[in-house]
Structure formats: C-alpha cells, structure tokens
Symmetry: C2
Subunit: 143 residues, 2 copies
DNA sequence: CCCCTGCTTGCAAAATATTTGCATTTGCAA
DNA sequence: TTGCAAATGCAAATATTTTGCAAGCAGGGG
C-alpha cells in the first residue's frame, strides 16, 4: 500500500481518508495551500473544516507537513518531504506565489551565531521574499 | 514637535492620538507585538480594536511599520525604523521571541538568483528561526 | 482664535479563521 | 467478525479582522 499510510500506522495513527487526501493534495500542489483550499480540493464528500484543521495539526506535529507564514490572513501548509527545503517569493501586487529550492541556502553561520549569542538550539528557519512579479513590475508606475 | 507626527502630516495624514501611540508603543518594544498587545499598552482611554487595525494598516502601507509572521494565530508588528533590519528566533517550547540584528545578512545572492530565474523584483525578505531557547532546551528530554 | 471640511474614531455588527464538545462512525488488530 | 480507540460530522464557541455609519477631532484658511 501507499507509503504515507504505512508511515502513519507505524506511528500509531490510523490512516484515514482525511489524512490520506490531505497528504495527496499537498504533495500534488506546487504551492503551499490554505486549509480552505485544501478542503476545496477534496473529492466529494468534502470533510468538515474541523477535520481538515485537526489533520493538519496532527501531520504538522508528526513532521509530515509544514506550515508556511506568508503574512496573509490564514496560514498555508506544504508537504514536508524529506530533504525538501523550499523558500517562497510572494508578489505584493497580485499575490502570486512562487517557490524554489535555494541553490545556496547557507544560513548555518547565522544559526551558529544565534547558538553562541542567544543560546538557542535552532532547528528550523523560514525565509520568504517579497516584491513584484514580472507582470506587476511591468505594470507599475516607475518609481 | 515629534518626528513621526511630522512625517505623517507631510504625507497628508493627520497625526492622531491613535497613530502616535501605536508608533510610540512599537518603538518602545523590543519584540514585535500583536494588535491586541498594542491595544493593551495604550494609556486609557483605550481605542477600539478597529482603530488599532486601521492605523496599523495605514502605517504599514506608509512603510513606517512592518508586519512579522511568526506562524502564530495573529500577525505581529514592529517599527520600521530606517536602516533597521531584524530577524527573529522563536522558541517552539515556550513561545519566547528574541530578535537580533544579523551581522551578516547576505541574501543578495539568493535575491539575484530570484531576479534572474523568476523575474521578480525582490524588495524585502523575512527570515525567522525556530528552535528551543536555552531554558526549554535544558528541560527537554534528550533526543 | 474660530470655523469648516474631511479624515478618524467608536460602536455595532458582519465576515473570516480556528477550536472544541459530543454523539456517531471508522480503522484496524486480535 | 468483533471490539476498542481514535477520527469524523455537526453545532456552537472563540478569536481575529473588516466594514458601515454617525459623531468628533485635526489642521488649514480666514
């Protein structure tokens, strides 16, 4: 059977339809999705919003899904495939979101610095860029 | 008179009490604050929440305040003093937030990369770190 | 210094986002 | 197939943010 279901059972959590669909939907999306968007992509019958929230929260705590904060009203979620580390570029004009795998994402020096000066054990970071996408940059009045 | 009031008037916006207090409160805080926390720090009479939201939204659009996304339920805001660029470290255990001025924040290569490959005009970025603060790291069971 | 005009505020209410309790259903291991 | 624990749907509670409208304040002109 499918890997995610196995992984869930191994961790002691039943592999339910809700869980499976959330993982599939996120895996198929190139963009992080909001809980609402995730629910919208469920094949009928759509689950209740609370089910989506409960599953997202479980999957995040199991490390199978990550939440992404893009300064919007609601949070977004993405699949946390092993070894994937993605960053986002958000267009302030039209809201378009692109994600990319950084070629060089060397924040280890900053992390080491934090460890030394503040004493934190840093385990994750999130890095997002904001600006104007090609279309919006063209449309804009020159500054 | 005080600089922020001047700046507001110059931009054509009356320097009201709400605006002044929001700026003062954010300037005096070493941490980004939520709208609720900002309202709580107003001297009596406290303004309505909607006033706080409206002022934050104006000040953000004028570039005098920045919003900070820390994967929480509500957004946080910080003063956007010229030349200040801060990053955050958030403790997953107790929620403690520290901010620091990065010694080396050279993301210009990544930004150049984005410009070339995706065509975006990148204007801002936000970078946050997550982990365990000294206290929580000590308390935690060894992994 | 006072008056006008427009922008801002308070208040109430709506819209949106997220969480929770409880009865019922489902997953899955024996 | 059966039973138990955990998940789901549903309804309602919370939390967050936005909006409409009438009344009040800021600040320029007289």
């Amino acid at each position: 059977m499918n890997p995610p279901a196995e992984a869930l059972r191994k961790l002691g959590y039943p592999a339910t339809r809700g869980r499976g669909e959330v993982l599939r939907i996120l895996a198929e999306s190139s963009l992080p999705l909001s809980p609402k968007e995730i629910r919208d992509r469920f094949p009928a019958p759509k689950p209740d919003a609370s089910t989506v929230y409960r599953n997202l929260s479980l999957l995040v705590s199991l490390g199978m899904v990550r939440s992404v904060a893009l300064h919007e009203r609601s949070r977004r979620y993405e699949i946390a495939t092993e070894g994937t580390h993605r960053h986002r570029v958000v267009c302030r004009g039209c809201g378009r979101i692109d994600s990319f795998q950084p070629r060089l994402c060397d924040l280890s020096r900053i992390e080491a610095d934090i460890r030394v000066t503040l004493g934190y054990d840093v385990r994750e970071h999130s890095l997002e860029f904001f600006g104007a996408c090609p279309d919006c940059a063209r449309t804009e009045t020159r500054r």
